[in-house]
Symmetry: C2
Subunit: 531 residues, 2 copies
Amino acid sequence: MALNLGLLLLLFYSSYSCCLSFSESATGLGSSSLRFEEKPNFVILLMDDMGWGDLGVFGEPSKETPNLDQMAAEGMLFPDFYSANPICSPSRASLLSGRLPIRNGFYTTNKLGHDAYTPQVIVGGIPDEEILLPELLQKHGYRNKIIGKWHLGQQPQYHPLKHGFDEWFGAPNCHFGPFDDKKTPNIPVYKDADMVGRYYEDFLIDRKTGESNLTQIYIKEATSFIEAQTTKGQPFFLYWAVDATHEPVYASRDFLGTSRRGLYGDAVRELDSGVGEILATLQRLGVDKNTLVFFTSDNGAATYAKTNGGSNGPFLCGKQTTFEGGSREPTIAWWPGHISPGQVSKQTGSLMDFFSTFLDLASIPAPADRAIDGISLRSALLHSNVTDRPIFYYRGDLLMAARLGQYKAHLWTWTNGLEEYHKGIDFCPGENVEGLTTHKQTNHTDSPLLIDLGADPGEKYIIKPHSSVYRKEMPAILEAVSKHLSGLKPGVPQLNWCDSAVMNWAPQGCEKLGRCLPAPKSQPYKCVWPH
Amino acid sequence: MALNLGLLLLLFYSSYSCCLSFSESATGLGSSSLRFEEKPNFVILLMDDMGWGDLGVFGEPSKETPNLDQMAAEGMLFPDFYSANPICSPSRASLLSGRLPIRNGFYTTNKLGHDAYTPQVIVGGIPDEEILLPELLQKHGYRNKIIGKWHLGQQPQYHPLKHGFDEWFGAPNCHFGPFDDKKTPNIPVYKDADMVGRYYEDFLIDRKTGESNLTQIYIKEATSFIEAQTTKGQPFFLYWAVDATHEPVYASRDFLGTSRRGLYGDAVRELDSGVGEILATLQRLGVDKNTLVFFTSDNGAATYAKTNGGSNGPFLCGKQTTFEGGSREPTIAWWPGHISPGQVSKQTGSLMDFFSTFLDLASIPAPADRAIDGISLRSALLHSNVTDRPIFYYRGDLLMAARLGQYKAHLWTWTNGLEEYHKGIDFCPGENVEGLTTHKQTNHTDSPLLIDLGADPGEKYIIKPHSSVYRKEMPAILEAVSKHLSGLKPGVPQLNWCDSAVMNWAPQGCEKLGRCLPAPKSQPYKCVWPH
């Protein structure tokens, strides 16, 4: 596997492990006395391909997200919050493991620095060796539910109930389709371990109008779960992984045509309303002060989907790229009585921080036998403190960029290849920053491109290497990079092999429904990842 | 003068005058009973070259404008609010006259569709025939003060006290310099009719560090004026036209180095703090419920200034252009007790609406002998109603684009010429929308380029002419354009002639100070407007 960072970086290599260090440092900060109950509830409201710029509070001009804007007014906004990866499956694997995809195996070595995920044909998935957040919470008395998209593997051994969740309502993959159930089976929808139907057959999405009541189902699943646990006084973790803003975008009838932004905006409005319902349920049941809720998204908006995709606000490019538009997430924390209302955090955060934060707040020790990339945000949430920490922007197996403080160094640049681009697949529509939005994978490790994300969040102005700011800021970033790489033990890559036989032909439960489909013979092949 | 809109548009011409009609329609809507005092006070907080994306509430990632964000939380946000022109002098002339530059004379015919303003050598200025908002307010018992930049003409006959203001503290022009007082005099600073000093001589701006206490002076001028009028029970109009965010950007010592965004952000932070002081003064004096305050900016952020300029958020290009980045303004209305807190208006507004709105609220009849382009926002402010109205985007003498509802038609496109662009003057850094950000003045009047500003506020996706949405939306826009042009009587162009003799050599009051400079012989020449 190529981690080609050039001789310059090799000079900085040391045996010091940055990530455990950051984790420890954060734990140290989080030593304030607990004012909340011993086992607070945790909710993650994870959006799919929603962009930083899709919320009113983050500057969407139509301002159609009153519930999320209200959530921010009552909670804490994180303008500098990052995905662990610019695409879905690796980002979600990192969220639940607290570890970068390069560690948990959610990457490919088929092609240097190419994005990979878990389509229906993928053979791999989340390895048993990875310890997921729900597993640890479960061991300490939590009841965990995932609603919506799993995306950590199609095969049964990778499913949520094998990895710490007690309940599941949703699907292993995106709501792609409709398929013919001959060449490709429609994606199954599960209730816990058993299939209860399939997209486009039992769970309808009208591809012409975009109508579907899936989000309403997911909202009901969430409020029912919260109500059931609350009645029993049962600590819970709810992972609400809804997908209405992922192509094909959908919304239910009541929301269709209500947004100035078109169908995509209709979907945002329905999700916004769902967030409102979930927070209101927590308040109605009197558990809001004992429930930490995070709202965020899995990666940047899919700019290649044009107006069917979301907005990354002032940020460059989108999903699939390691520019800010691909990685910066619209993030809000809400915990009445503990997080002061109306705060804007200066903490640089990551989806991987949920892992460390929740464990810290529930007094559950983090695994000590492995590097954890998340840090606990306890001190940021409760005391508005800021912990210095780097952000590493990977694409597949390649470290493309690193941020420290408000500076970002691009070690490599790439959007996508010219052949794909000329076919109309554009990750940076209307944008063209010379030297940055390259259509060739370009190696800058001998003189990384420096950006001041404070003055230039849109990454338009590359700072000159002979400038004083470059000489001042670059060494610290490169030191963080070398520390990171020197302590890195890449996991076994999970996204190299594909096979039509592993598709969802006969999911568990299909017998009871009389809906099993015949699987083809196994013919594994190396997955093709075009960008 | 060329108003080249092609044969297609000529077909729509009629004798109907759209703008009077819109004005009347708005008056009709504003018939609710007054709950405020007969003569409410008015305050306009006008920023200079500040962009839509510079406020936290409009999505600036560092969120460094707590006072403005609070003003929005207590008032009404206008995400769809427009300048009357993408540069300073014409925009300001329109704000005070309620009329487009093409009517009030703030344009040039030296070159088709070129931006012009009032540099120190300009011969023209605001014509006596134009009736300015302060003139009408003054006649009806208001006391008016302008603090900061006037920009409606250098020569004494054009100065504020000749056009309805009772008091002035500020300058006729930008704080350019330092000059040598030989080839070019430094810009004078006036107190009322007399010069009290000059920039860089008496009013310091350190061009190396950016330090200047000018904003603090302007804040003190504002609070003192408010206090003086309030003590007397005197209705007032305060026009706070500060300029710290115009190049050369400046901030006072307490704010230098406090922003993550650099000097530009320091200036924004100081202005934000000034807004906080002004609103707090109104509250302390108990006149907040009788004072309507608008915050806005004169044009889009100067993107060509790179990180010394502001941010236009998700919008395309900036100052000098008729893309959204050049014209969309960060606008907040604040009037405790009358405007409900936390509102987001769906009204498409314009700087010219201040004219009609203030007259309406003060029960002063608008001039009936001329077209007024502003509409009264009374109904939008007090009842959250929405009035349909077009927005016309001019560059010099050329109508470049028109917006109606959420759709915008580009009749012409242009950024700047290639020669200038290759010298590094870039109005659209990092942006390149094929067919839109052209470096040639391109005439699209036979098939205007349609943009859906709801789904595509960044103007990235041109809607195809054969699409149903194009066929549905374009006729109404073209009808509004033809109505506008058919009723249009262009004013005498004021920005054609320049002359070194009219510069600020010997402003009134210079004798008392012993600071008069010898003027050169008059040699008028046609001003050169490069873009």
